[in-house]
């Protein structure tokens, strides 16, 4: 509550400014979502029990409550899914004119928008991300992605002059748990627009929105077998990517697993795209629009609890403004609201899984042990569920593991630089190359820096922007291939790469 009578002693420079206005809990209603007792695989346009009849629980990471049980697919299930996809490719879908495929995709875009709130709640329940984000980011973008690629389905010959734009066949797609429905859209929309059929393996901890989407495809009348979903763990994913009936593999996830897949596919003559990890540099020059830069840095690392492959996890601040910038950052950090993901005012939700929480904890311990100075704002974390307070590390050097390894959590490592050349050198001093941020008011410097950063996406004076029309993907160990935009079609066309 605000103080009605006395004027409080205002906060001093560098001190945390408390948020004054109280917001009562504002919980998104969950009654609009119905979750079944258990979920089967989705093969050939209908639910299909797993061959081994095994099911695994999926939990709400904010409460640790089991939401439901989901089929655990194995090799035999993948076989059936690939066969269904092949049948659809050789049949209805393969023969369908692009303009008709387009209409299915438009239909899916519209239906996803119609049911957007329901999907958002389900996403938040299953994955722990704030409803604010699933509602305002994940769902609108997922729908927009289908709408965008729908338009390409009957215009492929104009996308790349002279290129063989025939589809590849059956695509096996493995997606991560950080943006479940959005990653589904990124994968499925261009694949179907180009005329392929799909076997999708959602992440083990977040299968529910994909399964809900499967039902949506049935309502949309999408021919059976065009989209098949095999839920399960890493085993199911490995079966899917290695299946001899698969022509195309697309994977989004860790660099570690990406390398395994690339190795596994050696000599298999399957087309492959990988969207892997990152350790994005976020460069702030002394002439930056400082308050927007603070927002960008905060958004860059705490968006989706830092479970973002392009998270700006390495902050490089020009030494001349280091202290002032850090002050502002700490003040802003204190106003982040960590807690119930279903609360509309929550900024930072739950860590996706126990395993991820342990991994973040371990790397943070290493950061402390290596001598970096840790700062966390005062914030009360709920008793149950998986939580990690927003964390800054100061006094970090390039050699620290927290400056090199992807933490995939709400942990920012802060370093300094003196000159633009040094900033770029430090920024590029990583095997990754997914994204980068740069803040400066000087136009020519933006272009100079953007030219030199080895990263597939450079956000200048902004951060974490995504759009269906804009290609996304990495250099070097962050993977190859692009998703989004015209370039996002290439991985699914015969003449592409």
């Amino acid at each position: 509550m605000y103080d009605q009578t006395s004027e409080r002693t205002p906060a001093r420079r560098g001190e945390v400014v408390p948020s004054g206005l109280d917001y009562a809990p504002s919980l998104e209603a969950v009654d609009q979502v119905s979750i079944d007792e258990s979920y089967d695989l989705w093969i050939d346009g209908k639910p299909s029990p797993p061959a081994a009849n095994r099911y695994f629980p999926t939990v709400n990471p904010a409460t640790e409550e089991t939401l439901t049980r989901v089929a655990e697919g194995d090799g035999e299930d993948v076989d059936r899914a690939v066969a269904a996809a092949r049948k659809a490719y050789n049949g209805a879908w393969g023969k369908m004119a692009g303009k008709e495929r387009a209409k299915y995709l438009y239909r899916l875009a519209r239906m996803l928008a119609e049911r957007s709130r329901e999907f958002a709640v389900l996403e938040t329940l299953d994955g722990g991300k704030p409803i604010k984000e699933s509602r305002d980011v994940d769902l609108p973008l997922a729908s927009a992605h289908f709408f965008y690629y729908a338009g390409w389905a009957d215009k492929l010959e104009y996308a790349f002059p002279g290129l063989d734009t025939r589809p590849l066949g059956v695509a096996a797609q493995v997606i991560p748990w950080n943006f479940p429905i959005l990653m589904l859209a990124w994968k499925v929309a261009p694949a179907l627009a180009a005329g392929n059929t799909v076997v999708l393996k959602p992440a083990e901890t977040t299968p529910l929105t994909a399964l809900a989407f499967a039902r949506l495809t049935a309502e949309a009348g999408l021919p059976p077998g065009v989209l098949n979903i095999v839920t399960g763990g890493g085993g199911a994913g490995a079966e899917a990517v290695a299946h001899p009936g698969v022509d195309k593999v697309a994977f989004t996830g860790s660099t570690e697993v990406g390398k395994l897949i690339q190795k596994r596919l050696a000599g298999a003559r399957k087309r492959l795209t990988l969207e892997l990890g990152g350790k994005a540099p976020h460069i702030v020059f002394e002439d930056a629009p400082v308050d927007q830069a603070v927002e960008g840095v905060i958004n860059g690392i705490f968006f989706n609890q830092g479970h973002v492959c392009c998270a700006g996890s390495r902050l490089l601040v020009q030494e001349s403004i280091y202290d002032a910038f850090l002050d502002r950052l700490k003040v802003r950090l204190a106003s982040l609201r960590v807690g119930d993901p279903l609360d509309k005012n929550t900024d930072v939700g739950a860590i996706n899984s126990r395993a991820q929480l342990d991994k973040i904890g371990a790397l943070v311990e290493i950061g402390v042990a290596e001598g970096a100075e840790m700062y966390q704002p005062p914030c009360a974390l709920p008793e149950r569920g998986y939580w990690f307070a927003p964390t800054l590390f100061m006094g970090v050097s390039q050699g620290h593991r927290i400056a090199r390894e992807e933490i995939f959590g709400p942990v920012l490592s802060i370093m300094t630089f003196r000159t633009p050349v040094e900033a770029v050198e430090k920024a590029n001093n990583t095997p990754y190359g997914l994204s980068a941020g740069v803040w400066t008011a000087k136009g020519s410097r933006i272009l100079w820096v953007a030219d030199r950063l080895r990263a597939g996406v450079v956000w200048a004076n902004t951060y974490n922007k995504f759009d269906p029309a804009s290609p996304f993907g990495g250099y070097r160990e962050s993977g190859f291939g692009r998703e989004g935009g015209r370039h996002g079609l290439l991985p699914y066309l015969r003449g592409g790469s």
């Binding site: 206005l21 917001y23 009562a24 005012n345």
Partner: protein
């Protein structure tokens, strides 16, 4: 010295220092030269408009419910500068509005009074009389509102006159022409002089952000006004579009935060023009709260310059309390 037969200049404010001798600025030091101003303003960080708008939009998604909403609405009522600034304003109109400001909802004694009644200088004596003992302040626009296109002497005389007639607060306009022409020293000196001329009235400085050509200038003008002694910085006259917006207010809030960090002096803010709904008002309070914190959640540091906002606040308060959507017919219009 007279102007149109009226004594102008320093005569009515003999107790005060002559306008030409500026007080030592707590921020800029004893001798304020164009160079000093230039280097002070050069240190003001640039603003990215898209980023500022994004932040404002993000804060607009905050959901304030139940008792928290009631508290916010109550606070918003107490922060209202109920305003009438029209050529056709009359003493009668002022009396009616004064009664509205003092008792916004005559049927409900729990509704607090507004912060102030904001009028043209001519009507200050009437407002002072009508509000005597009510606890509601009288604010007067001044300095050739809304354009500010008059000689300094005229502006000083106007401000001083309004103050001497009992205005508790003076809402002056800056010389946007001088600011845009690069004569920031002139803007600075005018603000400082008006502040002196109307002391001890509270000095609210209207930047007229809609005429400044972008957020970089809004931030610079904010810093300039605060250095020159503004007690409040105010977005707009209400006569120019765009008037107050969330992003421009955010930029000013951030300037206030920076000025406070540098000088230790807490300056208030008054968004004015275009704020007519309770929903908008709550968004401003959320932004205020998340940018400057609890210390600014008080009428002594935040005002809404508005005319129709007050009734919407009252309707919302009653809706939250009673659970019935309201009709304007049940609230007094003056």
């Amino acid at each position: 010295m007279t102007f149109l037969g009226l004594p102008i200049g320093l005569a009515p404010m003999s107790a005060k220092a002559p306008a030409t001798v500026l007080p030592t600025s707590p921020v800029l030091g004893p001798s304020v030269t164009p160079k000093v101003i230039e280097s002070y303003l050069r240190a003001v960080p640039p603003v990215d408009e898209v980023g500022a708008a994004e932040r404002a939009a993000a804060l607009s998604t905050r959901s304030v419910k139940r008792e928290s909403k009631l508290a916010a609405l109550d606070l918003a009522v107490r922060m209202c500068d109920l305003t009438t600034l029209e050529g056709r304003d009359t003493p009668g109109k002022i009396v009616q509005l004064a009664s509205k400001a003092a008792r916004p909802d005559p049927t409900d004694p729990t509704i607090p009074p507004a912060a102030a009644l904001c009028v043209y200088p001519n009507l200050v004596p009437h407002a002072v009389r009508a509000l005597a003992g009510s606890g509601v302040g009288v604010a007067s626009v001044a300095t050739y509102f809304p354009s500010g296109q008059a000689p300094l002497e005229v502006k000083l005389a106007e401000a001083a006159w309004a103050a001497s007639e009992g205005a508790d607060e003076i809402d002056m306009v800056i010389d946007r022409g001088a600011f845009l022409a690069g004569d920031c020293l002139k803007v600075y000196e005018e603000i400082a002089a008006v502040g002196e001329a109307c002391r001890p009235a509270c000095l609210k400085v209207i930047l007229e952000t809609g005429e400044l050509g972008g957020f970089d200038n809004v931030r610079r003008a904010s810093m300039l006004a605060m250095a020159a002694g503004a007690d409040f910085i105010k977005t707009s006259t209400g006569k120019v579009s765009p008037a107050a917006t969330l992003p421009v207010t955010l930029v000013m809030l951030e300037a206030i935060r920076d000025f406070y960090a540098a000088s230790g002096r807490a300056v208030g803010i008054k968004p004015a023009g275009g704020i007519s709904t309770a929903k908008q008002a709550v968004r401003y309070l959320v932004m205020l709260s998340e940018t400057l914190g609890a210390a600014w959640l008080t009428p002594s540091r935040f005002r809404f310059g508005a005319s129709s906002l007050l009734n919407d606040l009252l309707m919302q308060i009653r809706w939250v309390r009673e659970g019935r959507y309201q009709s304007p017919d049940y609230f007094t219009e003056d």
